[in-house]
Amino acid sequence: MNLYIPILAIGAVGFGFAIFSVLAAALTGPKRYNRARLEAYECGIEPTPQAVGGGHIPIKYFLTAMLFIVFDIEIVFLYPWAVSFDHLGLFGLFEMVIFIATVFVAYAYVWRRGGLEWD
């Protein structure tokens, strides 16, 4: 458990530094009110859909996130397998070949259906 304390320590230092910066910025900088300055960064007009107010996000990003989860879970299985590979022997190798082949089928399907295309 002792090994996790340094992580908390460096996290606390980084967090403290960040909080300090955010607070300091409010004090050190000038404050000159200007209505236009508080608007969104645009050339004149206010853009219509805003993120905070519930703007829309292209579905492609959602698809990418889903694919990421599929592959990330594959990686989660691969890591412990790789670490204990020497103990698993040939059995481990065959099992993993089958597993990767299964995921590869899904991957080929996504590719064929144009899930990896961007425009």
Partner: protein, 425 residues
């Protein structure tokens, strides 16, 4: 034998008293901040040299204090929270980014055994048995900083920048994660100090060169750096996810970006270049000059990677987004999957004590299969190209200049249909 040395490191670090943990934490923090300031200066100087300019040379000797001067300048700027922004999340996002970037560095082994203030220890904050996994997970938490910053700004450019940036980071994280499997396979551990310890004979850059290449490419994508800096493509997105940020909040994102570069470079050093180990044949330096000299080797390798980052930025133009995603998903991921299978089979063969002939035969077979597949791909591509060019070079009835087809390889099929519409009119 490998595991024994790792247990030694973990034990060593586990016995650190509280005050030593504090001292080391502060040392690591100061090291990172100074490295960031210096690498900003170094980047600007080196890029300037590559573009036949001088770069910043006014503040301090050789302009060394330029980073600090920039920081002070940012602190004296007005701290703006846009009207449309979600105030709390807007302030929280840079804090998340800055905190997580420092946390990721905790498991990087920077020296072997050294004595610090009279205690035997190692210049490494902690040593987890899942060290590399820990870095990957903290890096994933760091993505929240980007997404929330873009979302909470209540503005179009930051939102698009954040989406791009996060899609980019997670896409290349897959390739990066897959490239690390081979390293764990050979090291038999996920602990960073274990992996360094297991490279006593050969560095993994030699043994697992394809993994190294994939990791190096994906680490550039992971940190949003040129030529993969699409998240802040000025021509398209102004500044990307931090467009609405000013003052020290912007500085925090900047800091986080550079600390992330340091972390991925340090991880590359640890996993593939033997970490703090001396160059082959120079192992005597540690014996003669003491354990702290290993830090010099670590720093040298880290700086080499930083230079590589700057070199890329000075050399390569930015990719288009579709090219970038295509490269990540259709090239890097299948290659690393196949490479993982090849490496594990080779490893299994050599563990079973298979004769060299079998191993050579297997390698030859794999190379042959890859060549065949590659040539099939090439042939398919050429066929497609020929089909396209025959469609496109058909003489038009109008006096329109020929489209330069070699440039627009994307969405080409729509071109002939457009010309058809023109004929109808």
């Amino acid at each position: 034998m490998i595991h024994q040395s790792a247990i030694v490191t973990a034990d060593l670090l586990g016995k650190d008293p509280g005050w030593l943990i504090i001292v080391k934490t502060l040392l690591v923090f100061v090291f990172l901040v100074i490295m960031v300031l210096l690498s900003i200066w170094g980047e600007r100087r080196v890029v300037a040299r590559m573009q036949m300019r001088l770069g910043p040379n006014r503040v301090g000797p050789f302009g060394l204090l330029q980073g600090l001067a920039d920081g002070i300048k940012l602190a004296l700027k007005e701290d703006i929270v846009p009207k449309a922004a979600d105030r709390i999340v807007f302030i929280l996002a840079p804090i998340i980014s800055a905190t997580t970037c420092f946390m990721a560095f905790a498991v990087i082994p920077m020296t072997g055994q050294v004595s610090l203030l009279g205690r035997k220890t190692a210049f490494q904050l902690t040593d987890l048995s899942v060290g590399v996994l820990y870095i990957l997970s903290i890096a994933s938490v760091g993505v929240y900083g980007i997404v929330l910053a873009g979302w909470s700004s209540g503005s179009t450019y930051p939102l698009l920048g954040a989406l791009r940036s996060s899609a980019q980071v997670i896409s290349y994280e897959v390739a990066m994660g897959l490239s690390l499997v081979a390293v764990f396979l050979y090291a038999g551990s996920m602990s960073t100090s274990d992996i360094v310890a297991s490279q006593d004979k050969w560095w993994y850059v030699v043994v697992l060169f394809p993994s190294f290449v994939i990791y190096t490419i994906s680490m550039v994508g992971e940190t949003n750096r040129a030529p993969f800096d699409l998240a802040e493509a000025e021509g398209e997105l102004v500044g990307g996810f931090h467009t609405e940020y000013s003052s020290l909040k912007f500085a925090l994102f900047f800091l986080a970006e550079y600390v992330n570069i340091l972390t991925v470079s340090a991880l590359a050093t640890t996993l593939f270049l033997g970490g703090y180990r001396a160059l082959p044949g120079l192992g005597f330096t540690e014996r003669w000059l003491g354990g702290w000299f290993t830090f010099v080797w670590f720093l040298a390798k880290l700086l080499a990677f930083l230079f590589f980052f700057i070199w890329l930025r000075g050399t390569l133009p930015r990719l288009r987004y579709d090219q970038f995603m295509k490269f990540g998903w259709k090239v890097l991921i299948p290659i690393s999957l196949v490479w993982t299978l090849i490496v594990s089979t080779l490893r299994a063969l050599s563990l079973r004590g298979a004769p060299t002939a079998v191993i050579v035969g297997f390698t030859g077979g794999v190379v042959l299969i890859l060549l065949v597949v590659g040539s099939l791909f090439e042939a398919a591509k050429r066929k497609e190209q020929e089909a396209l060019s025959s469609v496109i070079t058909k003489p038009s009835h109008f006096a329109v200049p020929q489209l330069p087809m070699s440039i627009s390889t994307h969405r080409v099929p729509s071109a002939p249909s457009r010309s058809m519409e023109a004929t109808d009119e």
